[in-house]
Symmetry: C2
Subunit: 240 residues, 2 copies
DNA sequence: ATGAAGACTTGATCTGGATCAAATCGCAAT
DNA sequence: ATTGCGATTTGATCCAGATCAAGTCTTCAT
């Protein structure tokens, strides 16, 4: 499971990019052409399996990644094992924490994913040198901050049913397969992961999903695939 | 109560700085000398009373502030009145959301405070022009993001007693009056505000505070002033 | 001083979600 | 097909924290 991770850790600035030049633009949409080439020379495209830990909580922030495909969950665990997912990242988000040596959270692939990896010193040097890169990372940090605060409201003040509806809404917003009203998507997360995102137990998540199914708001095509016939009906379940 | 706010809203780029030059360095410690002068010419020092709303949720982000003294709470409210505090800001933090027109949260003085106010267009222009300002705002955004995620763990996975202990620890960390082991501080927040920060009710907050008092971890000098004889004992209450 | 209105504490009871305990459902290996 | 195992659902019970209901303590106006 951790093979991919140990390979990643061996990367240095002198490692050549293997195969990603062609699709770099997808990942780094906010960067200028010059930066793409610069990153391309020193980065490495990697496939990681679902469950693979990209960054470990408490480890050194020795490299950074761009997500090219898949979903990455950011996770905090307490000494006694209690666990909270504190963010979900989708392509083309950036994963890593500039300017801090030790990671306060772990990043783990929630689905099979592809990431573009490059070393810490390169990123931090480029942030200092390149206005546009700093600006896009600043913008992403502010967007993640808004998302984290929105989630604080969900964790602190919403009921279990509202929490589950909020998560479905969040994931649906990132799905491609949407018609005018209806949306279908992969959940990307197990019941246990959903529980850790929502501050609930797996039993409560399961019960609330069947509740939403019985009320006609969602259809559970199979254990990881959901259809929302009417997004407005789902949205109504979120607030009072 | 809202007098100060309406005054603030009239500020434009041409308003002269009244009396803050002397103490600008305190607020904008991360900025270079040139920026201090630049901000000084266009900013306005204001005193705001406890309870005064600095920014309203849903309103336009028409100005930004630096906190010079006091505590500011960031708050989200739901249509049905449920409410969650999503951040506490202390001097010399920056309050405001660059690059977004409408505010998704309100900012309210939790204590009497002094802030240094300047207009949106000035700040956004300066971010684009000044490397060091962008860098320091990017750094603050990342620190706030770490804090928000730490708080997500507290909201999602900690018990009521651990939540209250976490908040006391957070506020104590910003108090000046600390000896080697013991710390005394003003709470800055009412029981209702503490409840809204922790996702609890005021009754539960009150009960947990007396619990911590009876177990000897804190002394309640009066309703808003706490002494922690031993910070390590408080820290032990936070995790398992 | 006296009274009135908030803010806080304390007690009694209720309840949403946790915990404990079986099923049941995949699904991969044989 | 059968077995085994982990993931999920479902049911029964429990409990931490919510809700309801009095008090008490502060503060401030008269």
């Amino acid at each position: 499971m951790d093979v991919a991770r140990s390979e990643v850790l061996e990367i240095g600035t002198s490692v050549a990019c293997r195969s990603c030049q062609a699709r770099h633009g997808v990942v780094c949409g906010a960067l200028s052409a010059g930066q793409l080439i610069e990153l391309g020379r020193h980065s490495l495209r990697r496939k990681v399996d679902a469950g693979c830990e990209i960054i470990a909580q408490g480890s050194e922030n020795s490299f950074y990644s761009n997500i090219m495909r898949g979903v990455v969950k950011l996770c905090k665990v307490m000494p006694d094992g209690r666990q909270q997912i504190v963010g979900l990242q989708f392509a083309p988000d950036f994963v890593g924490r500039p300017f801090v040596r030790e990671s306060t959270l772990s990043a783990e692939a929630a689905t099979d994913a592809e990431i573009c990896v490059f070393p810490r010193n390169l990123l931090e040097r480029m942030i200092l040198e390149t206005r546009e890169l700093q600006r896009s990372l600043h913008a992403q940090a502010l967007i993640e901050l808004d998302a984290a605060r929105e989630w604080m409201l969900t964790l602190g003040r919403r009921t279990a049913e509202e929490k589950v509806a909020s998560l479905l809404h969040l994931i649906a917003a990132h799905a491609e397969t949407a018609t005018a009203t209806s949306t279908a998507f992969d959940l990307s997360l197990s019941r246990a992961e959903i529980a850790d995102f929502l501050g609930l137990t797996i039993e409560t998540v399961s019960r609330q999903l069947t509740r939403l199914r019985k009320s006609g708001v969602i259809r559970i095509e199979n254990i990881r695939h959901i259809t929302v016939p009417d997004m407005d009906a789902l949205a109504k379940k979120i607030s009072g």
